[in-house]
């Protein structure tokens, strides 16, 4: 079963192997995942005036009075800011935007919904970040393509993932669109940076931070336990960690 809906301004896809139908109502479970993403969008979107994110940005709600979910996101954001020496920061020019972490966090939380229902195998993708469980329809590790930043209709590497997350930060087609929170300047130097980690949350937050670091990003990820990177430079070269090569489907 494979279903996609546009939520949070991006495609969200749930893939569940057919064999899971024997034990589960897979359509109802996919709907539960989409409902969760719609709820996250209502709470965390920086583009919805009434979202909790917007209200915190306007200082209408002190963090101490935020919802438990928002308090968790604020705590994780602060932890990530410290771990990345400020390269990851949800406060930019006085604006509050936790998007660089919420997407991966929401994918991992959605995966926990299916875990709790007893699923052994599935994949959840939101806006190009993915969490995998178990095996695909063929009983093999999930085959995940790394999108070509110079031609988004093509793939430049395929990795085999089981019980791992993958996230890519990038600049596709034109210009750079991720900002360095240290300077307020647009991040530059590389075309895309893909991170594989234990789940989508870890992959997403470190892909965001490492991308902002530019060409030093892959070296940064190489020093993090359990995380690997594939970085595409603007000249068409890719630089990657030895651990990433272990995932590559030849």
């Amino acid at each position: 079963m494979r279903r996609t809906e546009i939520i949070m301004g991006m495609p969200v896809t749930v893939v569940i192997p057919e064999r899971e139908r024997a034990d589960h109502d897979v359509d109802a479970s996919a709907e539960a995942v989409f409902a969760y993403f719609r709820d996250v969008d209502e709470r965390f979107s920086p583009f919805k005036v009434d979202s909790e994110t917007s209200r915190i940005g306007r200082r209408e709600i002190p963090p101490s009075e935020a919802s438990p979910e928002m308090q968790e996101v604020l705590r994780l954001s602060e932890e990530t800011r410290r771990m990345t020496n400020g390269y990851f920061d949800v406060w930019l020019r006085g604006r509050f935007d936790p998007s660089g972490l919420v997407k991966g966090w929401a994918i991992s939380r959605a995966a926990e919904i299916l875990d709790a229902e007893g699923y052994l195998s599935f994949s959840i993708e939101a806006g190009g970040d993915i969490e995998t469980r178990g095996a695909n329809d063929e009983g093999q590790p999930w085959l995940i393509g790394v999108r070509n930043p110079f031609d988004p209709s093509t793939v430049i590497r395929t990795v085999k993932l089981a019980n791992r997350g993958i996230a890519t930060s990038g600049t596709y087609i034109r210009g750079e669109h991720i900002y360095n929170p240290r300077t307020g300047e647009r991040a530059n130097g590389i075309a895309s940076l893909t991170v594989i980690g234990p789940n989508a949350y870890e992959a997403d937050r470190f892909a965001t931070a490492a991308f902002v670091m530019g060409r030093a990003g892959a070296q940064y990820v190489a020093g993090l336990e359990g995380l690997d990177a594939y970085m595409v430079e603007l000249n068409g070269d890719a630089v990657f960690t030895p651990g990433f090569a272990e995932y590559v489907q030849p």
Binding site: E125, G145, V146, I156, Y172, R215, G223, G236
Partner: protein
């Protein structure tokens, strides 16, 4: 074989595809000093210690941030990277990781909002 190992281990600018890396794992025993390589923010040179045909340790002889002081890092946490030219592949995939057109527009809108907010 020693030359292949030396190049593959010689740090950030090592060029290797899967085959070359596989060959590099089949090593002659001994101690091999790699070529001095540029690693973005300085020069790097390492020495590989091989025994029983396996890489056991890597000594960092020169490291971009340490003004020539030698550093020792054991084989588990090699801080080296591999380089390759990007090639389009045609294998079947279940899903694709990457920023999407939709999120590109999403981010451009955000960028515009931030530009407005910043001035």
């Amino acid at each position: 074989m020693a030359a292949a190992a030396s190049v593959a281990l010689a740090a950030a600018t090592a060029t290797a595809d899967a085959q070359a890396r596989a060959a590099a794992y089949n090593l002659a025993d001994g101690s091999f000093t790699g070529r001095r390589e540029y690693a973005y923010y300085g020069w790097m040179r390492v020495r590989a210690i091989v025994s029983g045909g396996r890489l056991r340790d890597v000594r960092i002889l020169e490291y971009p941030n340490d003004n020539g002081t030698s550093r020792y890092i054991n084989g588990v946490a090699l801080p080296y990277l591999i380089r390759e030219a990007v090639n389009v592949q045609s294998s079947r995939v279940d899903l694709i990781s990457g920023a999407t057109f939709t999120s590109d527009a999403f981010q451009k809108s955000l960028a515009d909002a931030l530009r407005r907010a910043g001035r």
